[in-house]
């Protein structure tokens, strides 16, 4: 994969500086600060409706903050950037049903003017990275939900961004598929030098995945706590989740959300 060889110095931090977002008179997010270091894995958790998706839309440049700013390596995010790739919650709606899997993955590269041959090569590498090299010629609707979300992840990888933003990426998948994809993302994270920000309402998932869990709560939403998860890079579903420290982190986040 092309991103594997990227020198670390090219990666840039994602900085949110006193960002607020309101819709009309309703303040959704107030004075939020956040810094995502290159290579860091951040999970943003919070109760449903707290404004997690709104925050992610602002981070990605799909929505504009009402005040404050989001920047990547000093450049203010006003529109979606080449440095940021997105995986949507609605995998079904974010894949083009008239394109085969490979074309879905390489479509953004076509937009960059990359030639067919190189595009397809990168696309196949990224499909292989998510274990879907055999589904290249399938249409999205021929695949299961979990496979469709893996296609969306492959597309984000092919985009070769420094920062991967994921909005409730596994929220609508069954438990087993979900655990498999969590491990897939952890594996990609170990192999690729990218920052990942995952928004989720699942506290176990957040603690299992993240280096830092950012807890969002309140109305309007602010960061109420940031939990550094010191569980190392190698995690697995059984031992990590029964580790006493995991349980401690989990309970701490849970308590903050329940308040």
């Amino acid at each position: 994969m092309n991103s594997m060889n990227r020198p670390k110095s090219l990666a840039k931090p994602l900085v949110v500086d006193r960002m607020s977002k309101s819709f009309g008179a309703v303040d959704v997010i107030l004075d939020l600060n956040l810094r995502v270091e290159p290579g860091e894995f951040i999970c943003i958790v919070g109760p449903s409706g707290v404004g997690k998706t709104t925050l992610l839309r602002c981070l990605s440049g799909l929505a504009a903050p009402s005040s404050g700013q989001v920047s990547v390596g000093g450049e203010v995010v006003r529109e979606p950037l080449d440095e940021i790739a997105l995986v949507f919650q609605d995998y079904r709606g974010s894949l083009m049903p008239w394109m085969r899997t490979l074309e879905n993955v390489t479509f953004p590269l076509q937009g960059r003017g990359i030639g067919r041959e190189q595009r397809d090569r990168t696309g196949m590498e990224c499909l292989a990275a998510v274990g879907l090299e055999n589904a290249a010629r399938s249409y999205p609707w021929e695949l299961s939900g979990g496979m469709q979300q893996r296609v969306a992840i492959a597309r984000a990888l092919a985009y070769d961004a420094h920062i991967l933003l994921m909005d409730e990426p596994f929220g609508s998948l069954d438990a087993q598929t979900r655990l498999g994809l969590e491990d897939l993302v952890l594996d990609l994270r170990r192999r690729l030098n990218i920052s990942i920000v995952v928004v989720t309402h699942d506290i176990d998932e957040a603690v299992y995945l993240a280096d830092r869990v950012v807890v969002l709560a309140g109305r309007p939403a602010t960061v109420v706590d940031t939990v550094t998860v010191d569980l190392g890079l190698n995690r697995d579903q059984m031992t990590t989740k029964s580790d006493p420290r995991f349980v401690q982190y989990r309970n701490r986040v849970l308590k903050e959300i329940m308040q």
Partner: protein, 266 residues
């Protein structure tokens, strides 16, 4: 239940589809066979005239001219309907600037402008093509606008998030996502084209199926008038049947996707 012989199944479905038309044509044939009415000649005679004039080539030429006019008119309508529809559907400013004008123009029945167009453009093919194009333009345009406006937000967000450039965005996202509705508009346009083809050839024409029907009527040649009418009916049926095939072929992903959405919803 045991599996039935597939050829038998196929036979059954063909029977289910075709028994009524066959009965109707047979009834027409039988009840008109001994008709002495000047206005309602026997079907046998109508078909004989139809075959005679097709074989002799005169009606065949009319048929080609009419089909040519229709295809040209439809082509222009589809091209401009889609182009303008994409622009209006995508850009609010274009939509606001054009909506009142379009609503007014759309309210004029296309048949009402036939005399003006004939006077202005003469009796060749050009005015016919123009009239067909104008009438077919509306269903294509309106459906394209609706199709573009109805594109689900996640697709639009995806195209934005991955910075798909303008040309590619129109060609591979907006056009494709709106295609099911565009095709529905074209299906309507095909039917409209047939109507306007006939009407436009009633006035100031020297060839075409409409001309053949009208000219036969003026000579009181009733079998010929009927033959032309029957041919228009057959042509209309074949065109819509052909279009359905094209639609199925172009929108394969759409029909499959709709069928599988329940299955993979979770």
């Amino acid at each position: 239940m045991s599996a039935r012989d597939p050829s038998q199944n196929r036979f059954r479905s063909i029977v289910a589809l075709w028994w009524l038309p066959v009965v109707l044509v047979a009834a027409w044939w039988i009840f008109s066979a001994s008709s002495q009415s000047f206005y309602f000649p026997p079907l046998q005679k109508i078909l004989a005239v139809l075959v005679r004039d097709l074989v002799s080539g005169s009606l065949l030429v009319d048929l080609f001219i009419s089909v040519g006019n229709m295809l040209a008119g439809l082509g222009f309508a589809i091209l401009f309907g889609i182009l303008l529809g994409l622009a209006i559907g995508e850009y609010g400013a274009v939509r606001r600037a054009t909506t009142p004008t379009l609503n007014f123009l759309r309210a004029i029945p296309p048949a009402a402008i036939v005399p003006i167009v004939i006077i202005a453009m003469g009796i060749g093919s050009a005015p016919k093509i123009f009239i067909i194009a104008l009438a077919c333009f509306w269903p294509v345009l309106l459906n394209t606008i609706d199709g573009v406006r109805g594109i689900p937000t996640p697709l639009i967000d995806t195209a934005r998030a991955f910075r798909i450039p303008l040309g590619l965005r129109f060609r591979r996202v907006l056009l494709m996502a709106a295609l099911p509705q565009i095709m529905a508009g074209i299906r309507v346009a095909v039917a409209v084209a047939l109507v306007l083809m006939v009407i436009s050839e009633f006035f100031g024409a020297s060839a075409g199926l409409g001309f053949y029907i009208n000219e036969s009527k003026q000579r009181f040649a009733m079998p010929e008038t009927w033959a032309g009418t029957v041919l228009v009916g057959i042509l209309g049926y074949l065109m819509s049947a052909l279009f359905l095939r094209i639609e199925r072929w172009m929108l394969g992903w759409y029909f499959q996707d709709a069928g599988s959405s329940a299955k993979t919803a979770r």
